[in-house]
Symmetry: C2
Subunit: 396 residues, 2 copies
DNA sequence: CTGTTAGCGCATTCAA
DNA sequence: TTGAATGCGCTAACAG
């Protein structure tokens, strides 16, 4: 890759980058003095310090090497954010972007930067390599399947860790120690921040039930990593790997159980959290279940696709089809989307603060943030029975 | 912060983290062997390797310390992305998110991760510290004011660098060397990827002129870092610090110059690239210039705000007010927004590839990507003269 | 195949 | 105030 000479027994300022030592030598002072000029100005005279900084500039020395400094100090000033999906569409989700933005902001206050760690889509490379090999002071897990290798790898690093929208595993065996030596208890360094996923979902489903809907479609986020999408069988539903998905589903079911019997849910799983996938799922769902008059979407992004599908089908919203999202993205108001709001920015901030606390040696309590139903224009009472609800065109 | 004992002359496995050496000692082998077990499996017998890995696990050793490894190897596997704005709203811009996503994806192919480097909003901390102190193999500048301290600091690091939507400075003096020692020529390690900002802008303005509009409002992105926003005076216009803003403005002006005389532009500057700021600017602009029948927005985000403003003012789009955006975000199609498309994802990919090339010691040619006008439903011919175009309600 | 050695570039005791 | 010495934890020669 590079042809840099690697001479073990080398002449001093051989190639490329200038070091602190060379600056010291050029000035005839010790390395400690130069180091102090940068790190402890009070340890030398202002005049000398000025001289040091000056010749450093002259030599083109840009200050202490961050890497060496980190090694020596034992801190990197970097916090890793772990995704279990390729980053390409971590960013495609506005809710994720929002979260990251506020997280970054709260960490910046402590001069910490964010390192994005994503499992590569490429199955060649080890998906654990990023978390295992990152030089970071702490790790934030944005969404990892429960009981996954990835989560295990994160906890195995025994770094300050914050789990977002995901319970902190209590079982030490996640660390997979098999011999006598007990693994360190990661919980001392692990904290969690979650929203009331199930509660919000319950409110959403309740709202539709109150409006008289009896056949309700559900557009699910992924149930597990790299699975297919499509209709959700009961078995599949039992082994949901992503916690938010599981919780929202639970919320929907709870509302259903509390409502009039005879109401039914029709579940379908999106492959990705994108509008176009939401559209595709909606089309498929309405095709196979024409009696559906309302849709519960696990994200506003998916709901946006549902709205598109309704439009292309000529089904007016909310008269013929009610749609509810989740997240309440900025922009959802323009769409007049009824949805479940979650405090995305605050979540980012709380995560940042939890990390800061952990870094400071404290153990912050787990945080649980509320959700709310925001009723806008995309939901209405179920169309009267007897009317032909969905006139679906035959598939193209 | 922590009470870790720092004993210089210490007993071997004192506290906390296990090291490679301790694993070696526990096994009675040399450190090289343990290192090889991780890095060069072909250098030892499978059996021994297994034994090594086993006892490592037993001891709770999670593999070589990434930091020390980086120091030794001279590579970190991290690429820094530099913003000149607080990250909190770097993410708020979907175009930025899209770009970052595809960038991350293309870098992941080479097992590189992205470190987000933003100048803190907090004026206390040194805004250059992040770029100066980041342990990275390369730097990508997403948007920095021309001739800024920040840009200088980036180039001063003499790392492989890719400038996005921004010309590569040719003037060596940006490095600010004042003494005899000439600074290294950064251009050997610097490459640029841009879009045809001006061309797209020209098409947009041309489109409005062709439709007969004569009084055109312009919603500008920030002209320079941390400035006020509001009406743009000619002086301000002459010293635009952000290259894309300058180029788009130039494109608008070019179309104007080529069109019928008498057509006028009314410029206003947004403080931030957000819908609500776009809305605010639109309101202010239409208030002070009621003859405006069309708006050129420098981003779709701003255009979205313009649409909102038009809606709240009761001005129908496009009958009473034409609106053009810039970027063509996913979602803009749903808004039926006429806009200038740019290859955001491809840009990210090209930037990634340029960085990879630089890292490989090559010097990739600068890349220039095309833009296109996408005409949708938000633009139409200028309303007939004589009609009271804007009946503005008095300000609330 | 395995062990020894010499630093990567720096921050920090401690003695001067 | 300043300087000399000691690793942070690891990898890459090279010698055995």
């Amino acid at each position: 890759m590079s042809s840099r000479s690697a001479s073990p027994s080398s002449a001093p300022p051989s190639s490329g980058r200038i070091t602190l030592r060379e600056v010291a030598r050029a000035l005839g002072v010790s390395v400690a003095t130069v180091s102090n000029a940068y790190n402890r100005p009070d340890q030398l005279s202002a005049a000398l310090r000025e001289r040091v900084l000056d010749t450093a500039r002259t030599l083109g020395y840009g200050g202490p090497d961050p890497l060496a400094r980190s090694l020596r100090r034992g801190r990197t000033g970097v916090i890793g954010v772990v995704y279990d999906a390729p980053l390409e569409y971590a960013f495609a989700d506005p809710a994720a972007a929002l979260f990251l933005g506020s997280l970054a902001q709260s960490l910046q206050a402590a001069s910490l930067n964010l390192l994005l760690l994503a499992s590569p889509g490429d199955p060649q490379t080890d998906p654990l390599a990023p978390v295992q090999g990152a030089s970071v002071d702490g790790l934030i897990v944005y969404s990892a399947a429960q009981d996954s290798e990835l989560l295990r790898a994160v906890l195995a690093r025994s770094l300050p860790t914050v789990l977002v929208d995901q319970p902190v595993p209590v079982d030490q065996s996640v660390l997979g120690d098999q011999n006598g030596q007990p693994a360190q208890d990661h919980r001392a360094q692990t904290s969690g921040v979650q929203i009331d996923d199930a509660g919000g979902a319950r409110l959403a489903a309740q709202h539709l039930i109150d409006l008289g809907h009896t056949h309700i479609g559900v557009l699910c986020l992924e149930l597990g990593p790299r699975q297919g999408g499509g209709p959700v069988t009961p078995e599949r539903e039992r082994q949901v790997a992503y916690h938010p998905t599981a919780e929202r589903l639970r919320g929907y079911r709870e509302a259903l159980a509390a409502g009039p019997s005879g109401t039914r849910l029709f579940l379908t799983e999106a492959e990705r959290n994108t509008p176009s996938d939401g559209e595709r799922c909606t089309l498929a769902l309405l095709q196979s279940e024409p009696e559906i008059t309302a849709l519960l979407c696990m994200s506003d992004v998916l709901a946006q696709g549902a709205l598109r599908a309704a439009h292309s089908l000529g089904l007016s919203v909310p008269q013929r089809l009610s749609v509810i999202g989740y997240d309440d993205l900025p922009g959802s108001a323009d769409l007049k989307l009824t949805t479940v709001w979650q405090p995305t920015s605050e979540k980012g901030q709380q995560v940042g603060e939890a990390m800061l606390a952990l870094l400071g040696g404290q153990i912050p309590p787990d945080v649980r943030l509320p959700t709310r139903l925001v009723v806008r224009g995309s939901t209405a009472a179920r169309p009267k029975t007897g009317v032909q609800v969905n006139r679906l065109p035959s598939p193209p």
